[in-house]
């Protein structure tokens, strides 16, 4: 089948599954759970792009997930407190005076813009500075992870303005809509599903763009790209910023869905488990990260409900097996497809990278 057609078929299938089958088949509780998983899958889409295509082992996406989540939580707390009001926890732990940097989040427009721009801009600046110094591989991974640890510690330490270990919770409304209403909860699920599909479509376009090709080139031969006149640091920072933006949006939607954002959602452990789903699903493919991430979240909930103590071992074991025997993730099992050399010339200009590692992108 034509790869483009295949992609659209897969895309349509996913849309039907998310918009028709899931709401009909799942209870409100399970649907809300799925919405949560979709938010985590948004982070996974970004990790898949930055890690799978760009070769950056982003071990600290919790930072950007948290930034998005906390920005949204700040707005929701302020909206709940009413005009001129102060969030409840500040009255409880602090002196009841709203810090100046909270103030802009009263505006829904500013909040949405901040979620879209701030984490991405931070990643762009940070990434460019780091990649320019040619920090990569494990060093970059450790650096990004340290950032996540520091961010979590910072949140815990500043209880009077961030809610500390408890995080921010107890939201009543989301942009004016009552969160206690099941219908609004369902709408929230649809928003998550729509955003996730849009992200996947966007990444698909990027993967096939010249930038996508360039990113793979940087991943495999950074120096060669440099001697062709490109600045690899900028190319990598761009992908890192995109992953950060996706993580922030995921975090921002996670907050109203889960009803809480806390340091436990942004630190080292959640950052790693976000990555594990991507590794298991297949990092260089289009849908591998999404499916892997949702599957891991789902299995985590299912298994930890029944066997709370076994789950971590199971996840660790699966991770080892996948990395050792299927370095390209489970996607390489199901979607393995090698282009036959004979068809090379006749087909349209190669716009996608049809290789075993990447062919899972066309489900």
């Amino acid at each position: 089948m034509n790869p483009a057609l295949k992609t659209w078929a897969g895309f349509g299938g996913a849309a039907v599954l998310l918009f028709a089958v899931a709401p009909a088949a799942l209870s409100d509780f399970r649907l809300n759970l799925l919405a949560k998983f979709l938010c985590l899958a948004m982070v996974a889409v970004g990790i898949g792009f930055a890690w799978g295509r760009g070769g950056m082992l982003v071990l600290g996406q919790g930072v950007f997930f948290g930034l998005g989540g906390y920005l949204m939580a700040m707005h929701m707390k302020l909206a709940d407190a009413g005009p001129g009001g102060v969030p409840d926890f500040m009255l409880l732990y602090g002196n009841g005076v709203l810090p100046g940097w909270w103030e802009p989040m009263r505006s829904p427009v500013v909040t949405v813009l901040a979620i879209l721009v701030l984490p991405a801009a931070l990643a762009l600046v940070l990434g460019y500075a780091v990649f320019r110094r040619r920090v990569r591989g494990a060093y970059f991974a450790i650096l990004s992870q340290a950032l996540a640890a520091a961010f979590a510690l910072l949140l815990i330490g500043q209880q009077t303005v961030t809610g500390g270990t408890n995080g921010l919770n107890g939201f009543r409304s989301f942009f004016g809509y009552d969160l206690a209403d099941p219908l609004n909860k369902q709408t929230l699920y649809y928003i998550c599903a729509g955003v996730l599909l849009a992200m996947v479509a966007g990444v698909r376009l990027l993967m096939n763009s010249r930038y996508g090709e360039l990113l793979v080139a940087v991943r495999d031969q950074e120096n060669r790209v440099r001697f062709l006149g490109y600045d690899p640091a900028l190319i990598k920072a761009g992908a890192y910023a995109l992953a950060a933006c996706f993580a922030a949006v995921g975090g921002a939607l996670f907050t109203p869905v889960a009803g809480i954002i806390s340091p436990a959602d942004v630190g080292v452990v959640p950052s790693i488990s976000l990555l594990i789903g991507v590794a298991i699903g297949g990092r260089a493919t289009l849908l591998g990260p999404v499916i892997g991430s949702i599957a891991v979240s789902w299995a985590e909930t299912g298994l930890s409900e029944r066997f709370p103590s076994i789950w971590t071992y199971f996840l660790g074991g699966l991770f080892i097996v996948v990395v050792a025997f299927l370095p390209n993730g489970l996607a390489s099992l199901t979607f393995r497809r090698r282009p036959s050399p004979a068809t090379g010339k006749q087909t349209q200009p190669a716009t996608s990278v049809d290789l075993p590692a990447t062919s899972g992108g066309h489900p």
Partner: protein
């Protein structure tokens, strides 16, 4: 090999009039590269003009590759490297590349997962704007098309570069330099591992490119050097030992000594003529 190199097709790549390159020259003055106290390149002066096919030879460890690294910003160096009146030293590698200096590596370093066409398209695109980058390629740029024909890879344009034969990868590298529109081409052992027929084709191709642009070839293969070089610089222990035409250099006493290790064996010229270097 499925296809041969087409030197004639090169005319479509080298479309710019030769006059545009007339005043191009690479000028290296007192270049010095020191690694942890070890002097790898020690005060090298080198001038290569366009229209010259310069071979850079010397025993292992003479500093040839380090010299290329220094010129392209990969190794920190002192001194001066100028091209077209612009000082290159101190610039970052990608800026040096944008000033028109292209290079290849000893081991072919093409993008193995990308197709031949994608490799060339990336090489041609350093000046692209973000808008263009974020879109997919809808047509093959003309210079890429011409380069594909020149390097004889038209039939395998849609294959991943990783499956190419060794010689084809080297040709792809040269093709990438061409579409990159490098005015100075620094080639590090471009014919290593090639068959005799491939060497001849590559030599002719380089000669033609050299007529227009500034080409420096680091090479170990004496036979190849004798056949295609228009001038030769011999390096030894980080210094320039001799410079001149092929015959001048191969008859130079010091060069013979370096290549033989000692004159006492007395058959230096014969060895060089046989194409043995190590």
């Amino acid at each position: 090999m499925t296809e041969d190199i087409h030197v004639e097709a090169l005319e479509n790549v080298l479309t710019e009039p030769a006059a545009a390159f007339k005043h191009d020259y690479l000028e290296i003055r007192d270049l010095k590269v020191v690694f942890d106290g070890f002097v790898a390149v020690d005060g090298v002066d080198l001038t290569v003009t366009s229209g010259d096919l310069r071979f850079l030879i010397g025993p292992n460890g003479a500093g040839k590759t380090t010299l290329v690294d220094a010129v392209t910003g990969l190794a920190p160096a002192a001194g001066s490297v100028r091209f077209g009146g612009v000082e290159l030293l101190g610039r970052s590698s990608h800026r040096i590349a944008r000033s028109g200096v292209g290079r290849t590596f000893q081991t072919a370093s093409v993008f193995e997962e990308l197709t031949v066409l994608q490799n060339l398209d990336i090489a041609a695109g350093a000046g692209r704007k973000l808008r263009t980058l974020l879109r997919r390629r809808t047509s093959v740029p003309t210079e890429v098309e011409a380069a594909l024909e020149t390097i004889g890879l038209g039939k395998v344009a849609h294959l991943p570069a990783g499956v190419l034969a060794h010689g084809q990868k080297q040709w792809l590298e040269i093709g990438m330099l061409l579409v990159q529109n490098a005015h100075v081409l620094l080639l590090d052992e471009p014919v290593a591992g090639m068959s005799q027929a491939e060497r001849e084709q590559t030599g002719l191709l380089l000669q033609r490119i050299g007529q227009q642009r500034t080409v420096v070839v680091v090479e170990h293969d004496m036979e190849f050097m004798r056949t295609y070089a228009s001038s030769v610089t011999v390096m030894h222990q980080g210094k320039v030992l001799a410079e001149g035409s092929v015959s001048e250099v191969t008859e130079d006493e010091r060069v013979i000594e370096v290549y033989l290790g000692s004159r006492s064996h007395g058959r230096g010229t014969a060895v060089i003529e046989n194409g043995e270097t190590k």
